[in-house]
Symmetry: C3
Subunit: 134 residues, 3 copies
Amino acid sequence: MHTETFELRTGSERFTDVTARVSEVVTRAGGRDGLCSVFLPHATAGVALFETGAGSEADLDATIDRLLPRDDRWRHAHGSPGHGADHVLPAWMAPSLTVPVVDGALALGTWQSIVVVDPNVDNPVRTVRVSLLT
Amino acid sequence: MHTETFELRTGSERFTDVTARVSEVVTRAGGRDGLCSVFLPHATAGVALFETGAGSEADLDATIDRLLPRDDRWRHAHGSPGHGADHVLPAWMAPSLTVPVVDGALALGTWQSIVVVDPNVDNPVRTVRVSLLT
Amino acid sequence: MHTETFELRTGSERFTDVTARVSEVVTRAGGRDGLCSVFLPHATAGVALFETGAGSEADLDATIDRLLPRDDRWRHAHGSPGHGADHVLPAWMAPSLTVPVVDGALALGTWQSIVVVDPNVDNPVRTVRVSLLT
């Protein structure tokens, strides 16, 4: 298995498209076919596959705030107001995604991007681990 | 890794049980133990493991419409009314599922079926990629 | 691939931290790098990665009851009242999780625990399958 990590400066952005960076790791790994794991070693972020650049970021943003409202309901209550919601997010949007690699490239569909979803503004630097098992 | 794709005619059905077709690929792959990836190269569908044939399709159908309502709230707004909801679905219900293969068969529980969840009526033909890494 | 199962007595607990038991399997498997699959062969449970011991169990508990209410709306209606909700849960919180193993250990973040989420009080004994492919 080839495995490496890279750092991501998410800042106040909730969505960071990491498709290109994951692809670079897959290319560097040099295998032909295998399974690529994208994993975040964090408790307040998830990985999602969706189409970026056509409005779905705003839609997902609103959906997260509606389903996991950033109010004072949360028992886990340190940090920014509503931060307890961030701790529940990864149970619904896992920080682990597996993508097949075929002929040395991620076998993504045309409209799929690998996106780090990080609602946590208190922690602007994130690590992404990419592993290719062949 | 053995990897292949098959096409699925989902039409207006939201739920398509693909357990048998995934099993056929696993059998064809001929390995004994490994990890099987079921992956949809689509931006408006997910893969779920649940019990089919006992009412949960109707329940999940209603849950999807309640949590991701097909109204005019969505920024991503081409296609059928409410289609923006379909683009948010895979962030919550990933188009990627990993199932262990033991002694050459999917190690599913008695009541688990692998189901393609496709709320998108605009795109009735879908591709499923099944990969077995041993 | 090294694969084995263990039993879990979840009883009336919704959340059971299985990080230590999964780690034991990984140690026993003896590989250095690979992908570890945690898989539940059950139709009414999921696996989640989140921080335990700081209030998020109570928060996730409330979120599950709010998003998937245990009332009489469910078509799948055997067992305890609201049990149909349990059958929908794994579509949103998959019973399958992949964690990279690096240098023989789960590459989890400091605050991540592997948690079996089992809202189903009717079935107090659960099986967990852990597989390490190297």
